[in-house]
């Protein structure tokens, strides 16, 4: 057991801290993907290696060698001060790593630089009305017509489609192949004729999701990542990674600390909320659980650093445990506030900008999205505990 990062890393931490002390005021508040402040902040972060850190310089990144501990230190220091960590979105978090792994040189050159600088926004076309948990049964088709793919079908949960410049999309190109082997991974411009976007308002009141419809959408043949029929592997190259990062424990830790501050500041019948033993016990219970998840993450981190170390099921369980825990944490804050916990949007009595209700619902969304809790339990029991799959039901016709 050795929890020290070593002197090189202590120096690096000081460097990050001093960057934040001098520059944190320039960070954007909120999540405006298109704003100039966000783009300027992103550029500053890339120049200093605090985001896009390991993306090669030739594609617009900082070009550092992968260093898990340095990435960890950056995440910790930004999280401690609650400073925006740069642009997110599915282009940056999913497409760029996919292109780095499976894309052609031309694709890397064309797409990575504008994407990481916030000049090219992407949406992801995976789920369909009939293909949710069973994603590989998707039916949106692409047929080759000369030098062009012609796409027809419908996608759902297409986050940010309404502001996206491009889409990365899973389509069926080999209708006669087994379902996992008939899918291809295409890239195309969202201004292409034949695309219709309908916003899908979610329970938080936001319309980040969309339904998107594709009618004879034509794109050049070369806008494919990987080979024909390889789309499932291309998409899965990074899907597991997405699940691990949906509910990081250091964010949960920050939220617990914010909740403690709230419970010290707010009163009921003149008594601080933290002095109510029932609320305090619930708080402590969740704090202990968050602590366990933090140490679980340390184990995951350590297993990455020390190949050969047994990580057990520590990676496989983070999505399930992390999202359920965050939902519970946010829900506790609502409970302790009584009626004030209901405040939303423009209510003058909001606490912490109304984030408690918003995140409470948002994390319910994450419990469902990215592989539902039930799918996670299937994965844990089948791959982690080696339990058999449920037998397939024969179709009765």
């Amino acid at each position: 057991m050795d929890l020290s990062f070593g002197s090189e890393y202590d120096e690096f931490r000081v460097e990050v801290q001093s960057f934040l002390a001098n520059n944190a005021h320039k960070a954007p508040k909120g999540n405006d993907l298109r704003g100039q402040t966000a783009k300027d902040w992103q550029k500053l972060l890339i120049e200093n290696g605090y985001t896009a850190r390991t993306i090669p310089k030739e594609f617009g990144g900082f070009g550092a060698e992968p260093d898990i501990l340095k990435s960890r230190i950056i995440a910790e220091e930004f999280s401690n001060l609650r400073v925006n960590t740069g642009l997110g979105g599915q282009g940056i978090s999913m497409l760029v790593p996919t292109l780095l792994e499976m894309g052609t040189q031309e694709q890397k050159e064309q797409f990575i630089r504008p994407t990481i600088h916030g000049e090219m926004i992407w949406c992801q076309g995976y789920s369909e009305p009939g293909a949710g948990s069973d994603l590989a049964s998707l039916t949106t088709s692409a047929v080759l017509d000369g030098d062009e793919w012609v796409v027809n079908g419908q996608k759902i949960w297409t986050s940010t489609a309404h502001i996206a410049d491009w889409i990365f999309c899973l389509v069926r190109t080999e209708p006669d192949a087994p379902k996992h082997k008939g899918i291809s991974f295409l890239l195309f411009d969202m201004k292409t004729p034949g695309i219709e976007i309908r916003p899908l308002v979610d329970m938080t009141g936001a319309a980040n999701f969309n339904e998107t419809f594709y009618t004879d959408v034509r794109l050049p043949k070369h806008q494919i990542v990987g080979e024909r029929g390889q789309g499932w592997q291309v998409a899965n190259a990074i899907l597991g990674h997405e699940r691990e990062t949906l509910a990081p424990a250091n964010t949960a830790q920050t939220r617990i600390n914010t909740l403690i501050e709230l419970m010290k500041a707010d009163t009921a019948d003149g008594e601080r909320l933290i002095d109510n033993p029932v609320y305090r016990d619930r708080l402590m219970k969740i704090q202990g659980h968050v602590m366990a998840m933090r140490f679980n993450e340390l184990r995951v981190l350590s297993a990455r650093l020390n190949p050969g170390q047994d990580a057990g099921l520590s990676r496989m369980i983070t999505k399930l445990e992390g999202t359920e825990l965050r939902h519970e944490l946010e829900g506790l804050a609502i409970d302790v506030m009584g009626e004030i916990g209901l405040a939303y949007e423009d209510n003058p009595h909001l606490r912490n900008t109304g984030s408690w209700q918003r995140e409470y619902m948002y994390y319910l969304g994450l419990i469902i999205g990215g592989g539902t809790s039930q799918i996670q339990k299937n994965i844990i029991s089948e791959r982690g505990l080696d339990m058999p799959r449920e037998p397939k039901i024969e179709k009765s016709r």
Partner: protein
């Protein structure tokens, strides 16, 4: 940076596991529970160095860390093994060493496994009806309820001021009454003191706290081991048991119960490691972490004890598969040295959250 067990620690784990599988099988645990002795198991464990694990070399020990001790505790929980590990190998040596007093002789005997110390801390944590201890001028009167590692040569007793005393089992003023509890893998005793000679070990509260904190982490580690075994037994049983012409392990209802157990338990392993490591290396975090670890493992363990029993169906409820020994062990670990609500309250106090 390396968060996990070293090669030496994995070797220690393998050795203790192998010994316990040979010497503390369910049949042997059953014999102990029905009135047998743990002398052979403890002698064997002492031979492996388990009794000496935390005692410095100068006193005949092997001077290992709380994390090494937690590994042993996890193995003992795995097999619901009897033996006075918690009192004699962990809490008593920790208190004696922390006191700074001259206890070389007793430490050497503890290291050899030839002296046993029971633990009577209940009254310093939460004093219940009909219990309480008074000490004046080295004379102890009163009652300790539910002292554990009951069959002992000496008892380490904490009074309500968190002062520590050692009393001898041979003292004529000491009456010992074995108490039946649900957990028959370890014995519990009521101690009545009438003008008993009490040797003061320390009036420094931090000595009591050192023994208490490590005791809590060890109970958490024991629950970790017992819970892991209950999960493993449930998965194995579900793969073998067939209903509706297929293994019940192929039903999602059963798989999801197992997945929930695994998902809640896996972070507990890291938590126990960290808490044990913190005892030696991170004094600022150690106390609150010990409280949270004790509470969290108690909650997760309780859920697993129930769920694993349910996966076993009717068999889980019987004495035939013996699963109830694990269920009860986890239940006892939960109550000793502060039940969850109590230790969470302490965690809040330690963070300055209680007015």
């Amino acid at each position: 940076m390396q968060f996990g067990l070293s090669e030496e620690q994995i070797l220690l784990q393998d050795n203790v596991k192998r010994f316990l599988n040979d010497n503390a099988s369910l049949d042997q645990v059953r014999k102990y529970a029905e009135g047998g002795s743990d002398a052979d198991v403890w002698a064997g464990l002492a031979e492996l160095g388990v009794a000496a694990i935390l005692i410095p070399e100068e006193h005949g020990g092997i001077g290992m860390t709380p994390l090494d001790a937690a590994i042993v505790a996890e193995c003992l929980g795995n097999n619901v093994a009897p033996g006075p590990f918690l009192g004699s190998a962990v809490m008593a040596p920790t208190a004696l060493i922390a006191s700074g007093g001259d206890h070389g002789e007793m430490l050497a005997q503890l290291a050899a496994g030839t002296h046993r110390v029971g633990i009577a801390f209940g009254e310093a944590i939460k004093r219940r009806n009909n219990a309480g201890i008074q000490v004046s001028n080295g004379i102890m009167n009163g009652t300790s309820l539910f002292a554990f590692d009951a069959i002992a040569d000496s008892y380490l007793v904490a009074d309500q001021n968190k002062h520590l005393y050692m009393v001898s089992a041979d003292d004529t003023g000491l009456t010992r009454t074995l108490l039946t509890t649900v957990d028959k893998t370890r014995q519990t005793v009521e101690l009545n003191y009438k003008d008993v000679t009490a040797t003061c070990i320390s009036t420094n509260v931090s000595v009591f706290e050192a023994a208490l904190d490590i005791g809590r982490v060890m109970l958490a580690a024991d629950t970790l081991g017992a819970s892991q075994d209950m999960l493993d037994q449930a998965v194995d049983y579900a793969k073998q048991r067939e209903q509706f012409n297929r293994p019940i392990a192929s039903f999602q209802a059963v798989k999801h119960m197992c997945a929930e157990m695994a998902a809640s338990l896996e972070p507990c392993r890291s938590m126990v490691w960290f808490a044990a490591h913190a005892l030696a290396d991170l004094p600022d975090e150690a106390r609150a972490t010990a409280c949270h670890t004790k509470a969290h493992l108690s909650e997760v363990g309780k859920a697993i004890a129930k769920t694993s029993t349910e996966v076993h169906g009717g068999m889980g409820f019987t004495d035939l598969v013996g699963l109830h020994y694990w269920f009860k062990r986890i239940g006892a670990n939960r109550q000793w040295l502060g039940a969850p609500e109590h230790v969470r309250h302490e965690a809040a106090i330690l963070q300055g959250l209680v007015a």
